[in-house]
């Protein structure tokens, strides 16, 4: 992870990028099933603490490299969005 020191202050779940940019807060964990290159630009502007890819979504090498360069943390899980949000909410 390029920015491992970031604290998670809250969360936002969604796949429509303009909603994420309009509603997610800096420091959120952003839970999504979108994995295309545009999520890196959205994350670097909306400034979530990390992107969390749900449902075991794969991240291709180009996206991974771009995220690394732009300092965007990307995590993955095989769990679904609902389960992930519930578990994260119980921790913060």
């Amino acid at each position: 992870m390029p920015e491992p020191e970031r604290d998670i202050l809250g969360g936002y779940a969604g796949d429509l990028l303009s909603w994420v940019m309009g509603r997610a807060s800096s420091g959120d964990v952003w839970v999504t099933i979108m994995s295309n290159l545009n999520i890196v630009a959205v994350a670097s502007l909306a400034d979530p603490a990390c992107i969390l890819l749900a449902e075991g979504v794969e991240l291709d090498d180009g996206v991974r490299e771009r995220a690394e360069v732009q300092g965007v943390n990307v995590l993955r899980s095989g769990k679904n969005v609902f389960r992930l949000c519930a578990e994260i909410a119980s921790l913060i």
Partner: protein, 140 residues
């Protein structure tokens, strides 16, 4: 009138995957100029939405960002198809984006509303068949 620092970007209309590079660059420049995180976020998100719109609808365009001490002005100009009904286009959820764009997570009909939401002033000049120019101001 106070002096301003000006940045110009050409937005490539063919390359959807690189869309947003100008906004990311502006974010870095504003950070170097030590603007507050809130101002930087508002400017860069509003500009990104505009960039994406120009790539989706207008085959690219130009972005000019003028940085003053007390405000940041953004001018986005394209020679695309224009907006027939600006009031309709400003409604949340209204979109004319094609399906292949929607599958990438765009086309939610939130672009123009987000630009208004994140700026202190926004003005749209558009002529069908000629293009669109959007003026936005974020007060510092």
């Amino acid at each position: 009138m106070a002096d301003s620092v000006n940045f110009h970007f050409d937005i490539d209309g063919d390359n959807f995957t690189s869309a947003g590079e100008a906004s990311v660059m502006i974010k870095k420049l504003l950070r170097q100029m030590e603007f507050s995180p809130d101002v930087i976020r508002r400017v860069s998100v509003a500009m990104y939405e505009g960039e994406i719109n120009m790539v989706i609808h207008a085959n690219g365009g130009t972005a000019d960002v003028n940085v003053f001490c007390d405000r940041i002005e953004i001018v986005l100009k394209d020679n695309g198809p224009g907006i027939a009904d600006v009031r309709l286009a400003m409604q949340e959820g209204y979109s004319t984006a094609p399906d292949n764009i929607r599958s990438l997570g765009f086309g939610a009909g939130m672009g123009l509303p987000n630009m208004k939401r994140y700026t202190d002033d926004m003005r749209i000049e558009s002529e069908v068949g000629r293009g669109t120019t959007i003026y936005m101001t974020v007060n510092v």
